[in-house]
Assembly symmetry: D2
Homo-oligomer: 199 residues x 4
């Protein structure tokens, strides 16, 4: 019986590294697998990348309006893989709920394991649709934490625009020139939020 | 540093029993605590109840439009408790997101531990607002599972009206005369869903 | 594929209540199961008991020198159960390593789920043979914690003889007239240990 | 309050990668930390290495007969670090129980977090002393799994000598020319064990 596993955490908590490590395990065992990310994630191009210096091409870049279960089964057929050990999904927070439900069916009806990673919360502390769906339907939920500036566990995400913390705006703003993200502990995130909302 | 813990599971997975067991531990240690549930939950009256045959009065019944952080602090003051070991929250799926955020502040700013239990998904497999907020903000997430009719782990909730599985309707329908709920494994839930939606 | 699950914790952390709750779930589903405890545990007689006020007869009381895999299969045969949903094992710390290995084979070769509970450490902070074996071979390890006198999580066990903490002696001394146990947090346990060893 | 965290798993499950990822997080935050491994582990020299292609020098190589709590505090003093974010311990299975207890005191009395990784079982399915001590005293236990040749989760370790599975011998035999290890699921490990013991 295949399982749906969701690894959640703040920015820079090593989530993609978990996928790359799993990919490496399947490679060593010569068991085929596929990887996927949402077309919403424009960062890094067609790669799964980890800050620690490892990357790997991604097999499927999924627009938000396709049936990803069908897309995966099609790709298995196309590549004549027969079956796969797992589907690895990066940046799963960007998937609409319908696509996560399609992956749930892929796990439970087609018996294909899904290992997905995603941000738990956006910069306002609100849920991402894709992550909520995975946390709601997943068999196993695992947390990755990183280190806050104060040394505590970082579980929240703060958005910086030109170096200033901001707590209002669009849910999705891919980090780049002006926009950056920082993992913070709840206490520091609430502190910066209070300061920012007070100005 | 207090923690926000969320125990999630399907119907009849022993979630309230976890709260009653924690209450018992605090009682034995003579450490004060408070319990709360949402006014939305009309079942069982002002009690936390477990199918195994244990129950306990609930201290605070919270309408959805009050600030629950203030309400808890007020109750601590009123009862001259000084401080409490934990706030125990039953049926947390019924809390609006704002109230869960208020409890998050209670944990992180007032250093009061919160232990909440709730259903992970509704009968359509969709997230409850309160549970999503707890899964998004909680420090520790723990799963309780129960047994499906087939012997596997039950993680999904099915709604029965007059003994028939239904997969459309209002999110909240408290179980009573005509309405019942049953924990099912994902496979059996998808099976009953397909049968029901086909008719 | 059946699983071996081990629930560990300090004294009075609600471990047996987990077994009683699981038993209740199987009863409601009318799925047969068996329960077992070691003959080393002379407390409570042929019952699984919880401080919260629930108890249930235990099906198999196992001397340390029998093959428990064979014993369980024999009992299934004897009672004409065909198969069981799970074997529930209380006070698993008292099982010798060989018996835990036999249960591991019961899970993996006979496809029978085992759910066991036990103390993680003895009063000196040393491992129990049975718990170590379960932690070494188990598929899922889950912790139950209780409340220390200071309000923190209790993970260690302290032994009291006539009300005084003691940190030397036999590993097994069933609580009764003179002997009592108390769950403490690591800090308080280390404190009492230092005071006791200093005298 | 610092925590003792133990990450356990079979060979090649990405345990050291977890340490390297944590080290990377501390580096990015410019929070000092120290790393340690046992002198028993002669593989890889004074490095923490991951099969995925990352490595990092190890700060302390500990003989089994020193007090590692004192050694760490001395190193903090020597390097004038003031305090550290964490002590990272690789190949923790090789530490004697006394050293793990010293690290427990380092966490609980000196408030220094310890993150250790180790093999859960030896090739005979028996516990390693160091891992048992960490599983017994740790605040958080996390599992890393890898992939069995059959695609299932690998949790057991098999030893191969010149390509043949062996199930008797010394507990410690560092992999090298003739000796290799392979992570297997319980079912496959029991199968190879039965075949090997039958010959």
């Amino acid at each position: 019986m295949a399982k749906m596993t969701f690894i959640y955490g703040a920015m820079n908590s090593g989530k993609s590294l978990e996928l790359l490590s799993a990919a490496n395990n399947y490679d060593e065992r010569q068991i085929p697998y596929l990887s996927m990310k949402s077309a919403v994630d424009t960062k890094g191009g067609p790669l799964i990348t980890s800050r620690i210096g490892i990357e790997r091409p991604v097999d499927i870049i999924a627009p938000t309006d396709i049936n990803v279960r069908h897309r995966v089964l099609e790709e298995i057929e196309l590549r004549k893989l027969g079956s796969i050990g797992a589907l690895l999904v990066d940046e799963a927070q960007f998937l609409p709920r319908e696509q996560v439900f399609q992956l749930f069916e892929l796990v439970k009806e087609d018996d294909i394991a899904v290992l997905a990673t995603g941000l738990r919360t956006d910069f306002e502390g609100k849920p991402f649709e894709g992550s909520t769906a995975f946390m709601t339907l997943g068999d196993d939920l695992k947390e990755k934490t990183t280190v806050c500036r104060c040394g505590r566990k970082a579980r929240m995400n703060a958005r910086l625009i030109n170096g200033l913390y901001v707590f209002t705006g669009e849910q999705v703003a891919i980090d780049g020139d002006a926009v950056a993200y920082e993992g913070l502990c709840a206490e520091d995130w609430l502190l910066e939020r209070a300061k920012s909302l007070a100005t």
